[in-house]
Symmetry: C2
Subunit: 332 residues, 2 copies
């Protein structure tokens, strides 16, 4: 009998997550009961939000308990079906977690095809991160042609899509990223007009130089000092989509934002949002992104780690910003 391999939560981390916070376990292969299907997972997504699920702090979704399989987006192939809506051989994207095989009722699965874009992209540019970028930028920031859009984590899974969508809106687009490799990628491959390396210091001054007309839309993935610097260059009536605060997720002592006065004086609208609150917009975003990716209008880069056993290391590396573009784990 085939054995299933799963990665479960071993500890609720304090500060940075470590490999010892995860545990690899073997279990019997599940069998599909009536109505269920059995999926062989081919791709696993690792994303910043997972750090929140590893914590006991109250959040918008329940956390993972010790011993539970880690939550996560997956692409897999149906290998057994007791559900009339799915056939063996169908590829599906869903949230079946950090495991090689998963049972599902099929309820939260979407059938996908690799005819136009590769399967892995349904975890990135054509998946949750892409939809996050689209909804945050187009629905919350509502950029107009000629405006300046600033994007933190500019080369990441979400930011890279935000920047390119903002260029399609005919905006001036400025990124913030860590290190020259990411900044060069943002400008040369993704088409950003400029990208500021926050590791080079004097971020607020550098932003003022790169955004001579100020910032009308700010897409925030990072928080902390990066956010403070960005708030200092906002224009009157600017909009901030607060999508993530990755700089805070591993912090036991959160950074204090000093620039709230800019929010008042500039009549800024800051909106925190979670992509899964907007399922109608989510589907609309994906339907738009798939052809754009197929046509090359939206580019993407993946950092691929091989093997479920390496998923914890891939997650930790991504949290430290070592990936370029979308971090995925290839399971098969």
């Amino acid at each position: 009998m085939t054995t299933n391999i799963q990665i479960v939560l071993a500890n609720h981390p304090e500060g940075w997550a470590q490999e010892s916070d995860f545990k690899l376990i073997e279990s019997d292969m599940p069998a599909a009961a009536s109505g269920d299907l059995l999926i062989e997972n081919h791709w696993l997504s690792v994303d910043p939000y997972m750090r929140g699920r590893m914590s006991t702090a109250k959040s918008y979704a329940p956390g993972v308990e010790i011993g539970e399989v880690m939550v996560g987006g997956t692409v897999g192939r149906v290998i057994e079906s007791q559900n009339p809506n799915f056939n063996v051989g169908d590829f599906v994207v869903g949230r079946t977690g950090w495991q090689l095989y998963a049972l599902s009722t099929g309820e939260e699965l979407t059938k996908i095809s690799s005819d136009t874009v590769p399967y892995s992209t349904y975890l990135g540019v054509c998946g949750m991160p892409g939809a996050t970028a689209s909804i945050g930028l187009l629905e919350h920031c509502t950029p107009k042609a000629g405006e300046t859009v600033l994007v933190s984590a500019a080369s990441g899974a979400v930011g890279s899509v935000v920047g390119q969508l903002a260029k399609l809106q005919e905006c001036r687009v400025v990124g913030i990223a860590g290190g020259s490799r990411k900044c060069n990628y943002a400008v040369e491959e993704l088409g950003y007009d400029a990208c500021v390396d926050y590791k080079a210091g004097n971020l607020a001054d550098a932003l003022r130089k790169s955004c001579p007309e100020g910032v009308d839309c700010y897409f925030e993935n990072v928080g902390g000092e990066v956010m403070d610097a960005a708030l200092s260059v906002l224009n009157p009536f600017s909009r901030v989509a607060l999508c993530g605060l990755i700089s805070e997720y591993n912090s036991t002592d959160p950074y204090g934002i000093k620039m709230m006065k800019s929010v008042l004086v500039n009549r800024v609208n800051i909106r925190g949002f979670i992509v899964t609150d907007h399922l109608d917009l989510y589907r609309k975003a994906i339907d738009q992104l798939v052809p754009w990716v197929a046509e090359g209008k939206i580019k993407y880069h993946e950092t691929v780690t091989e093997g479920l056993e390496n998923a914890p290391a891939a997650f930790i590396s991504m949290m430290k910003g070592k990936n370029l573009g979308k971090q995925v784990v290839k399971l098969k």
Copy 2:
């Protein structure tokens, strides 16, 4: 010939404003040229925003230069008119500054009557602070019946109107104020369901007790630690109207807001706003407030200081929270 008395800016203060930052000067009485009118001011408003105008920091409105008359809202009587739209004896509300007599083209003046409400209220509950309360609460916070509305500076010129308008919307209304006198006034006179004294310590815990169902709308006048505590009790999809940050205005080292994560996790919408951006809504708000004040549906309290020469002391006292309700200066 009558002498005019004016108060001009003597210094741009660092930190708290002091009486020495103001200077009283005497000047010749102005004369109305064609199209102008001459106003004898009866009431002067002192408000927190004036601290920003005394500063050289960039803001939404130009600052007062050294030697210039301090800006401010006034109620006065027309004593000379070369303008067909105004007659001698008309009472007007406008922004003619810290002086006994002022010339005006009439452009930004509104004629008022004391038939229904006293003249001084056009600087408070029926003026800029009242309109600020109305627009911030009704347009930005959009409270629904049964929701919890939290108001900082709950007994102040703006907050006292916010709280009462929220009660008219059938909300549970909780205030934050400094000291038991203000808290008692908020509950007993203004009708707040509860009021928390931030000077008593443990503000976040006290707010959790006073807001057992969390907070859906937060009307922010204060900033700093008060804002951090308030952000910690926000509900999912709550709205924050950022109207003022009085705790920051005299600070040379702004407090850092640590609770941005609550804005993300709870998908909060924070909106900075300035009442004068919304002149259509401003007029609508005043038209609604005047009859409500006349009928006693909206109550108010004024702290009255006598004499223009005491305006700096009144302003400083108000900035330190020593007033109850609206601080005004009686000039005549």
